[in-house]
């Protein structure tokens, strides 16, 4: 796999435009899923994933060939998604506390207005719900959780992608997991 990827990259660097399509095909699902789990909305995830590949192409000379290509590519995708969320802040108002309600947010209110009858929760709805709860995590916990549980990456790889020490990755996973537990415990 690594040798194959390196061969393709060498071709791309020599100006073989079409060889890049092979790289896109190899990694599009993983890149798309990272973006999707970070931003939730499929159309936005698709745009971000495409942008990640375009950036990888235009910066292909900066990629160090002896490092893992997927790490470099996932890093671009993660950073783009997090930047996007930072600029957009879609649920900022949901997280804002309602004055005088002591920790009660719009989100908890919305959630409580939509009862989830346990026996009617379809698989699809469970997925939607879990995805929404992930989206409510602060971005730094969310990226660590997505890379660990959805991409199944090692702590070392996550540390390379996020450019933070392994110990910090661990802390973020532990805290993100605790935050999710509190949201997901009542199935």
């Amino acid at each position: 796999m690594d040798q194959k990827v390196k061969k393709i990259i060498t071709k791309v660097r020599k100006g073989d435009h079409q060889a890049f399509a092979e790289l896109v095909n190899l990694y599009k699902t993983q890149v798309y899923n990272i973006c999707l789990r970070l931003v939730r909305i499929p159309q936005e995830a698709e745009d971000l994933a495409q942008e990640a590949f375009i950036r990888a192409y235009t910066n292909i000379d900066k990629y160090e060939i002896d490092r893992k290509f997927s790490t470099w590519l996932f890093r671009i995708a993660t950073n783009l998604s997090i930047d996007y969320l930072r600029k957009k802040k879609p649920s900022a108002y949901l997280d804002a506390e309602i004055p005088g309600t002591d920790g009660f947010t719009m989100y908890t209110q919305l959630a409580s207005e939509e009862p989830l009858p346990e026996d009617l929760v379809l698989e699809y709805e469970t997925q939607e719900w879990v995805q929404r709860e992930i989206e409510e995590l602060p971005a730094k916990y969310r990226s660590a959780i997505v890379l660990k549980y959805i991409q199944d990456l090692s702590l070392k790889e996550i540390s390379d992608i996020l450019d933070i020490p392994v110990a910090t990755v661990k802390t973020r996973i532990h805290r993100g997991r605790e935050a999710l537990r509190k949201r997901l415990r009542h199935v």
């Binding site: 660097r13 020599k14 100006g15 435009h17 079409q18 890049f20 399509a21 896109v24 095909n25 599009k28 699902t29 798309y32 899923n33 999707l36 789990r37 499929p42 995830a45 698709e46 994933a49 495409q50 590949f53 375009i54 192409y57 235009t58 000379d61 469970t126 997925q127 879990v130 995805q131 992930i134 959780i145 549980y149 959805i150 661990k170 996973i173 532990h174 997991r177 605790e178 999710l180 537990r181 997901l184 415990r185 199935v187």
Partner: protein
């Protein structure tokens, strides 16, 4: 609930598969009796499986084509490898630039087919129409280059005499310490200059050591 803090750390290790056998036994013994820790552990397990259970979704069918269509055009890209190559070979690049510029310069010199005489060094010459005269008693310390004319050496040239489409009316070995070079072809003309550049580099090297 004195157990909590320490037990939670062991619980995380168990979840992350980093606990030792002893820690693991200690932990499972503990949750047999402590319902708080048991609940906590089961909830975390459930959280993990819910998150892992998120399906892998496929991007749209036209994804790859869409990316390819948005890439910067190949002709722009084709300049890139050259750029990279030049960055990796600065000396060859500089030398190539130098030779190209120099050839252009020399070619333009060649194309001026008017009479022209240059002393590369110290010394004075006299002119008589298109004839360059090194007067008796004059010593040229350097090279004398004459184009499209004639040269009459009555004094001395302590260097080379280069005659480009020119002829020497009077020159014996005693008058010129260097070579008398006849250059009648453009390639020779360029060659002469390139040779002198290399001689110059060699001189630098020599001085350097």
């Amino acid at each position: 609930m004195a157990c909590l803090k320490e037990m939670v750390q062991i619980m995380y290790k168990v979840l992350d598969q980093e606990a030792t056998e002893v820690e693991e036994r200690e932990f499972f013994d503990h949750i047999n009796t402590c319902s708080t820790c048991r609940e906590h552990f089961l909830e975390l397990k459930q959280t993990e499986s819910l998150v892992k259970g998120l399906e892998t979704k496929e991007p749209s069918e036209g994804f790859t084509q869409a990316v390819m269509a948005k890439l910067p055009q190949p002709h722009k890209k084709s300049r890139r490898p050259a750029k990279v190559w030049m960055r990796h070979h600065p000396i060859i690049t500089a030398a190539a630039c130098f030779i190209i510029l120099m050839s252009g310069y020399l070619f333009s010199l060649w194309n001026q087919d008017s009479f022209n005489a240059v002393v590369q060094g110290k010394g004075h010459v006299q002119y008589d129409g298109h004839t360059v005269i090194v007067p008796k008693g004059e010593v040229i310390k350097g090279d004398l280059i004459v184009k499209n004319g004639k040269v009459k050496i009555e004094g001395k040239v302590q260097g080379d005499v280069v005659l480009v489409n020119s002829e020497s009316l009077l020159a014996s070995a005693g008058h010129v310490t260097g070579d008398i070079e006849q250059v009648d072809q453009i390639m020779e003309w360029i060659w002469y200059h390139i040779k002198s550049i290399f001689t110059m580099f060699a001189a630098f090297d020599y001085e350097g050591t």
